[in-house]
C-alpha cells in the first residue's frame, strides 16, 4: 500500500490535463507572441511607442472607435504617454465638445479641456452600428482586457489580414483575418504602410503602427500598470522580510515547546 501513495494522484492529474489541453486546443490560430516591454514583473510602457500609438488611434481608429472612459488629462499622467501639459491642452483644444445647457437652456460647443472625456465618433451605439454596415465598432477603453490573448491578440488581428483560403466565400463587407476569432471580421484592414506620418519620423509600417497602437491600447486598458508593478515590488519585498522575521520569532517561541520533548 505504501509503495505508491495516492497523494501523488492530484499532481499526475494536473500533468495529464496539461497534456490534453495542449494537444486538443481549439483550431483557432494562436496569436503571435510579441515581446512587449510592459509584460513581466517589472514591465514598463515604451513612452515613444505610446505617443506614436496615440497618433495612430487619433488619426485612424478614432474615426469609428470610441474610448469613452479615458480623459485627455490621462495622456499627461505618469505611467502613460506622458505628453507635456501644453501638449495635452493642445490635444484637448483641437476637439469640439458639445456642452450645456447654458443659462438660456441652449447646448453649445466649445474647445475641449484636459478634464473632458475622449469624444466619441458617434452619438450612440446604434448610430455607430448604422454607420458601419451593421457591425459595432467596440469601445477601445478596455478592449485589450476584453479579449483572450490581450495585447498579442489585438496586434495579431491588425497584421492578420489575408486573402481568404480557397473555399471560403465572404459576404460583401466581410474580410478574412487569420487571427480573428472565427476568421471573419467586418472591419477592413485599417492600417497600410505610410497611412500616417509619425511626428517623430519613425517609418510608419503596418507592423510598426500595429505595435504602437497596441501598446497605446494596452496602456488605455491598464493605465495603472506601471504603478502597480512598482508598488507590487515594494509590497513583495516588505512581505518577504516580514515573513522571515515572523518565521524566526516563531522558531524561537516554539523552541520552548519542542525542547520539552
Amino acid at each position: 500500500m505504501r509503495s505508491f501513495s495516492l497523494k501523488k494522484l492530484p499532481v499526475l492529474f494536473f500533468i495529464f490535463f496539461l497534456i490534453i489541453n495542449h494537444s486538443f486546443g481549439s483550431e483557432q490560430t494562436k496569436p503571435i507572441k510579441v515581446d512587449w516591454s510592459f509584460k513581466g514583473l517589472t514591465g514598463k510602457f515604451d513612452r515613444a511607442s505610446l505617443q506614436r500609438g496615440f497618433q495612430v488611434y487619433k488619426e485612424v481608429c478614432s474615426s469609428c472607435h470610441s474610448m469613452q472612459y479615458l480623459s485627455y488629462r490621462n495622456l499627461g499622467e505618469p505611467g502613460g504617454p506622458e505628453f507635456s501639459k501644453e501638449e495635452v491642452k493642445a490635444i484637448a483644444a483641437s476637439i469640439e465638445i458639445e456642452d450645456g445647457p447654458d443659462s438660456q437652456g441652449e447646448m453649445f460647443t466649445r474647445p475641449g479641456r484636459p478634464s473632458d472625456k475622449f469624444k466619441s465618433p458617434y452619438p450612440n451605439v446604434n448610430a455607430s452600428i448604422a454607420a458601419n454596415g451593421g457591425a459595432y465598432p467596440p469601445d477601445m477603453s478596455v478592449l485589450v482586457k476584453a479579449r483572450p490573448g490581450g495585447s498579442d491578440y489585438i496586434y495579431s488581428v491588425l497584421v492578420g489580414y489575408e486573402d481568404p483560403p480557397e473555399g471560403v466565400i465572404l459576404d460583401d463587407g466581410v474580410y478574412y483575418n487569420k487571427y480573428m476569432i472565427g476568421n471573419k471580421i467586418k472591419m477592413s484592414s485599417p492600417l497600410m504602410d505610410g497611412i500616417i506620418e509619425y511626428s517623430d519620423g519613425t517609418e510608419a509600417s503596418v507592423d510598426q503602427m500595429a505595435k504602437d497602437v497596441t501598446t497605446f491600447l494596452s496602456w488605455a486598458a491598464e493605465p495603472e500598470l506601471e504603478e502597480r508593478h512598482k508598488t507590487g515590488f515594494k509590497v513583495m519585498v516588505y512581505l518577504i522580510l516580514l515573513t522571515v522575521l515572523v518565521y524566526l520569532s516563531m522558531k524561537r517561541i516554539w523552541s520552548r515547546v519542542d525542547s520539552e520533548e
Binding site: 494522484l9 477603453s141 476584453a146 507590487g232 512581505l239 518577504i240 515572523v246 516563531m250
Partner: protein
C-alpha cells in the same frame, strides 16, 4: 478550563468585567488550550478570517464609488479603476480576494475531510461551516454580477434560470427573483443589496463557528481526544497566533502576486465587455470556484434533475458526519479511506476541469463519470469503508509514547510532515 478563575488586575478592569466579561473572553481566547501538533493545514481558519475582513473592508470602500444601475455600473467600475485614488488596488484586492477566499476555504474543507474534523463531537461546527460556504457562494455569485459585464449578465441569467426548473411555481419564482421579466436593473439592484448584506451574515456565523469550536476544542492530525490543558496542548497565544501569522504572510505573498502582477488571470475577459442582453457569449462559464458544481449541473440531460443533483452535491455534505461510519477520525490511521480520499480529491478536480469545458463529447462523458463517483464516495464508499476497514493502532496521546501505537505514531508524524 481556567476561565472562571480569571480576575482582571486593575480595579477599573474588574468593575467593567463584572458588568460585561469581555476581559474574561479575551483571557479565554489567549489561553485557549490548543493541540500542539497542529500542522499548517490548521492555519487556514485564521487565513479565512483575514479574507473575510479584507473583503468587507475593500467592499465598503468600493460601495462608496460603485453605482448599482444597469446603465452606469460598468462605467462606475471603470471610474473606480481610473479616477478613484488607488481604486485599481482596492478593486483588484476585492476581486482576487474572492478567489483567495475560496482557495482557502477549499483547503480548510479538505483538511476537515482528511482529518475527520466533521465527526462527533464537532458536527455543529461542520454544519455552520457549510452554511458559511453556501453564503460565500451566494455572495461571490452576486458580486460577480455587479460589474455588469457580459459574464455578469449571462452568468446571472443562467443561475437564476435554474429556479425555473421547479415544477409549477418555477417561472413565478424566477420572475420574483429578477424583479422583472428578465435579468435587468431591478435584479442588479437587489443583488447589490444582498451582496452587501451577506458578508455580515457570514461574520455572525463565523462567531458561532468559533464558539462551537471552543466547546470541544480543536481536532488535531492524530484525531484523538486530548486532555485540556495538558502536556499535549499549548496556549493559543503566542504559539498559535505566531504560527497563524507566519502562514498568513505566506498566503499574502501569493495573494499579492495575483493582485499586483496578474490581477485578471482568474477572471474572464468577457467581463470587460459591457452587458448586452442581445449577444450571448460563446461559452458561459462561472468563476473557477463554482466549476465542479457547474459540471454536475450540466452532466444531467434533464434541467430539473441537474438542479437537484447540483444542490444535492452541496447538501450531502450536511449529512456527512452521519454517512461516515468510522469511529476513527484521522485518515492517518485509516489506510483504506486515505486512498479513497485522494481519489475523491482528483474527482473534484476532474469535475472542475469539465465545468470549464464545453458540455459535449468526451468532456460530457467524463463529467458524468465524475458526478456519479462524487455521490458514490459519500453514499457508498464512506459508509462501507467505515464498517469494513481495519484501522491502524491509535496512540493514546500526542506527546506520550504509548504501549501499542508508539511506532505508528512516529510514522504518523512523519506522514504529517510530508503532507
Amino acid at each position: 478550563m481556567s476561565d472562571k478563575e480569571y480576575q482582571p488586575k486593575s480595579k477599573a478592569g474588574k468593575w467593567f468585567n463584572d458588568r460585561l466579561p469581555l476581559l474574561t473572553l479575551g483571557a479565554h481566547l489567549t489561553d485557549y488550550p490548543t493541540p500542539k501538533n497542529l500542522n499548517y493545514w490548521w492555519t487556514f481558519g485564521g487565513i479565512l478570517t483575514f479574507c473575510l475582513l479584507t473583503q468587507i473592508i475593500t467592499g465598503i470602500v468600493l460601495a462608496m464609488h460603485y453605482v448599482a444601475h444597469a446603465d452606469l455600473a460598468f462605467a462606475s467600475v471603470e471610474h473606480i479603476m481610473r479616477d478613484v485614488n488607488y481604486g485599481w488596488l482596492i478593486r483588484y484586492i476585492h476581486s482576487n480576494g474572492a478567489s483567495m477566499f475560496f482557495l482557502a476555504v477549499y483547503i480548510h474543507i479538505f483538511r476537515s475531510l482528511f482529518y475527520g474534523s466533521y465527526k462527533s463531537p464537532r458536527e455543529v461546527i461542520w454544519i455552520i461551516g457549510l452554511l458559511i460556504y453556501l453564503l460565500m457562494m451566494a455572495a461571490a455569485f452576486m458580486g460577480y454580477v455587479l460589474p455588469w459585464g457580459q459574464m455578469s449578465f449571462w452568468g446571472a441569467t443562467v443561475i437564476t434560470n435554474l429556479f425555473s426548473a421547479i415544477p409549477l411555481v418555477g417561472d413565478s419564482i424566477t420572475t420574483w427573483l429578477w424583479g422583472a421579466y428578465s435579468v435587468d436593473n431591478p435584479t442588479l439592484n437587489r443583488f447589490f443589496s444582498l451582496h452587501y448584506l451577506i458578508p455580515f451574515l457570514i461574520l455572525g456565523l463565523v462567531v458561532l463557528h468559533i464558539w462551537a469550536l471552543h466547546v470541544p476544542g480543536n481536532n488535531n492530525p492524530v484525531g484523538i481526544d486530548i486532555k485540556k490543558p495538558s502536556k499535549d496542548t499549548v496556549p493559543f497565544h503566542p504559539y498559535i497566533t505566531i504560527k497563524d501569522t507566519f502562514a498568513l504572510l505566506m498566503f499574502m505573498i501569493i495573494f499579492a502576486g495575483f493582485v499586483f502582477f496578474s490581477p485578471n488571470v482568474l477572471g474572464h475577459s468577457d467581463n470587460y465587455i459591457p452587458a448586452n442582453p442581445l449577444v450571448t457569449p460563446a461559452h458561459i462559464v462561472p468563476e473557477w470556484y463554482l466549476l465542479p458544481f457547474y459540471a454536475i449541473l450540466r452532466s444531467v440531460p434533464d434541467k430539473l434533475g441537474g438542479v437537484i443533483l447540483m444542490f444535492g452535491a452541496i447538501f450531502i455534505l450536511f449529512v456527512l458526519p452521519w454517512l461516515d461510519t468510522s469511529k476513527v477520525r484521522s485518515a492517518v490511521f485509516r489506510p483504506i479511506y486515505r486512498q479513497f480520499y485522494w481519489i475523491f480529491v482528483v474527482d473534484v478536480l476532474l469535475l472542475g476541469y469539465m465545468g470549464a469545458m464545453p458540455a459535449e463529447g468526451i468532456y460530457l462523458v467524463l463529467a458524468r463519470v465524475g458526478t456519479i463517483y462524487y455521490f458514490l464516495h459519500f453514499l457508498v464508499v464512506l459508509p462501507v469503508v467505515g464498517l469494513l476497514e481495519k484501522t491502524d493502532p491509535i496512540p493514546l496521546s500526542i506527546s506520550e509514547p504509548v504501549l501499542s501505537g508508539g511506532a505508528k505514531l512516529s510514522m504518523a508524524k512523519k506522514d504529517n510532515e510530508k503532507f
